[in-house]
């Protein structure tokens, strides 16, 4: 019996190792590329022979990259903030209040979450150029918020449905207006869900490439994923593999930290928001 459990444990450890290999092999590879020096870059080895920080030094002295990093952080934070504020309001209404048109709002946001972004790129390009928002932060924040809202509304309304109704009723009985009940009773209870949703929304903005590529033309608003595809070496013949790998690692670090710290919450957020059936 004892040996049987040991054997089963060993078997599961074996399976777990496979999962770890699956998840980390491409990540470690890009990390190792970013640490290779110029002479061993093309040796085709999985791990670096003589690791150096040269590529990092190169990108952190590159104004375009720094600007792109600043753009990425700023645009994603602002878009997340807006999407969370509006998403929280809408999700509260959908989870708790009776009002006309609720069903169609849920349907519309579902539709948008499945929208092919490319279908929006052409008209948005034209519209943004016309109103002068092309190649600006706002020009990217607007589509990011739009695509983040359905995600936020879905995840948040799932969280909100689990908050005990009675507390709000009690607050109203004690003379709180519906707004006060929302602001002072429900919001603090909902904070964990809101926080989780914010992480998911931030990850989705951080990941965007298509809008960043099509709706910018200079480093004024270009985010890191788009900037990476424009990296060039010192000469036309030198491929900027090292710097690209280093930039890739830099934008991966925040996500890996989020995942490590908030694994449980992210899992809860992804499953509660997406599976309704």
């Amino acid at each position: 019996m004892q040996t049987e459990t040991t054997q089963r444990k060993l078997m599961w450890w074996g399976v777990n190792v496979l999962v770890l290999l699956y998840a980390f092999i491409p990540v470690i590879w890009i990390l190792s590329l970013s640490l290779k020096d110029a002479t061993t870059l093309n040796d085709g080895r999985y791990l670096p022979v003589s690791p150096t920080g040269d590529s990092y030094a190169a990108i952190f002295s590159n104004a375009d990259f720094l600007r792109a990093l600043f753009n990425s952080i700023g645009i994603c934070l602002i878009a997340t903030l807006i999407a969370i504020v509006f998403g929280t309001m809408a999700a509260y209404a959908i989870a708790r209040l009776t009002f006309p048109g609720k069903a169609s709002i849920v349907a519309v946001s579902l539709l948008i979450s499945m929208f092919p972004q490319i279908a929006l790129v052409t008209p948005l390009f034209k519209i943004l150029v016309t109103i002068g928002l092309f190649d600006t932060w706002l020009g990217l924040i607007i589509p990011y918020v739009t695509f983040a809202l359905p995600l936020a509304i879905y995840t948040l309304s799932a969280f909100f449905r689990e908050i005990p109704w009675d507390l709000e009723k009690a607050a109203k009985m004690d003379g709180a207006t519906p707004y006060q009940a929302f602001r002072q009773v429900i919001t603090p209870l909902a904070m964990p869900g809101i926080f989780t949703t914010a992480i998911l929304v931030f990850i989705s903005c951080w990941n965007d490439f298509l809008f960043a590529l099509s709706l910018t033309s200079t480093s004024a608003a270009r985010t890191v994923p788009a900037a990476m595809s424009y990296f060039t070496g010192a000469t036309t013949f030198e491929k900027p593999t090292g710097p690209i790998a280093a930039a890739a690692v830099v934008i991966t670090i925040p996500i890996v930290i989020f995942v490590l710290l908030f694994q449980r919450r992210i899992v809860a957020g992804l499953t509660s928001g997406a599976v309704k059936g």
Partner: protein
């Protein structure tokens, strides 16, 4: 006689009195209801306004542009040309090739993701050791930026540079090897998402039922197909729908891996090239509209298959 009204009248009077207080109560209830409605509409207004303005309006605008000759390089030559753009696109071999490539990538990756996602879901659900470790590391591919993952795969398969690159050949310069690497990149990145959705389904399968079946002599394979799969069918369909629609818009991986060389462009790639490289808004919009319609058709087919289990079919309802 008149001083003592018949019972019926007394009732009526009483009723009227009741009506008075009821009226007030009802009016209060109505007011409360109206206030609730007002608050509800007020709270959803910003979100709905943004979603309609940034998604609904542009798609209508795209439809209008698709009926025009709209070339940014020749702005004076703009004119209404009806469905001529559609004729151009639908009779173009480039479009149909991209359509076929996209469909192939969508179907193959959705299938592989379902298989591997299910395996990963079972591991995350069942493992008796290091559950937190497995779940955390499985989230890593989900969080990695698609462009980063695509670069990792590109470098891995680049001759002389990559650890996966075969001696003396360049897989990313040939059609089929490129296609499989694109699919690999897509599948690697989205298995965790699929697995999490499926795991939520697995958690709903009653343990007793599986035990009972096990007592009755059903082996693990049979238990999986005869009990687990039918019970988590809604979760499977939702996960498949999300992933199919997502895979159909594949862009990032292809852009980084091949830039659409050797006929590996997806429909999104072709539409993008028309806009940014060709600056042809008319043709680009026509493709946008066609992609939008195709997405609608895919969603429609899935929702027909879902029936009542479709997300949004029970909107106000519980989780």
């Amino acid at each position: 006689m008149t001083q003592t009204p018949p019972p019926a009248t007394a009732e009526a009077v009483e009723e009227r009195q009741d009506d008075g207080s009821l009226d007030i109560a009802r009016r209060r209830a109505n007011e409360a209801q109206r206030a609730e409605r007002k608050l509800g509409l007020l709270l959803v207004a910003p979100a709905v306004t943004i979603m309609l303005a940034v998604a609904a309006y542009p798609i209508i605008y795209a439809f209008w542009l698709s009926l025009n000759k709209a070339d940014l390089r020749r702005p004076d030559a703009n004119e209404f040309i009806g469905f001529a753009n559609y004729v151009t696109v639908l009779s173009s071999p480039i479009w149909w090739r991209a359509f076929g490539v996209t469909m192939f990538i969508t179907i193959v990756s959705a299938f592989l993701e379902l298989v591997f996602g299910m395996l990963l879901a079972i591991v995350m659900h069942r493992t008796i050791v290091g559950r937190g470790l497995v779940r955390t590391s499985a989230l890593v591919p989900y969080g990695i930026v698609t462009v980063v993952a695509a670069f990792s795969w590109r470098f891995a398969w680049t001759a002389d540079l990559g650890w996966l690159a075969p001696e003396g050949s360049a897989p990313l310069t040939e059609f089929w090897p490129s296609m499989w690497i694109i699919i690999l990149a897509e599948v690697w990145k989205t298995i965790p998402f699929m697995a999490l959705l499926l795991m939520a389904g697995l958690a709903l399968v009653p343990e007793d039922l599986l035990k009972a079946a096990s007592m009755d002599g059903a082996n693990a394979w049979k238990r999986f197909w005869l009990i687990t799969v039918p019970l988590i069918k809604p979760a499977i369909l939702v996960a498949l729908l999300f992933r199919t629609l997502d895979a159909f818009r594949v862009f990032d991986s292809i852009f980084i891996l091949t830039s659409g060389a050797n006929g590996t462009s997806s429909v999104s790639m072709v539409a993008y090239s028309n806009l940014i490289r060709g600056l042809n808004l008319g043709i680009g919009s026509t493709m946008s509209v066609l992609i939008f319609i195709t997405t609608g058709i895919i969603a429609f087919i899935f929702i027909k298959a879902f029936g009542a289990a479709a997300p949004g079919a029970d909107p106000g309802g519980r989780k």
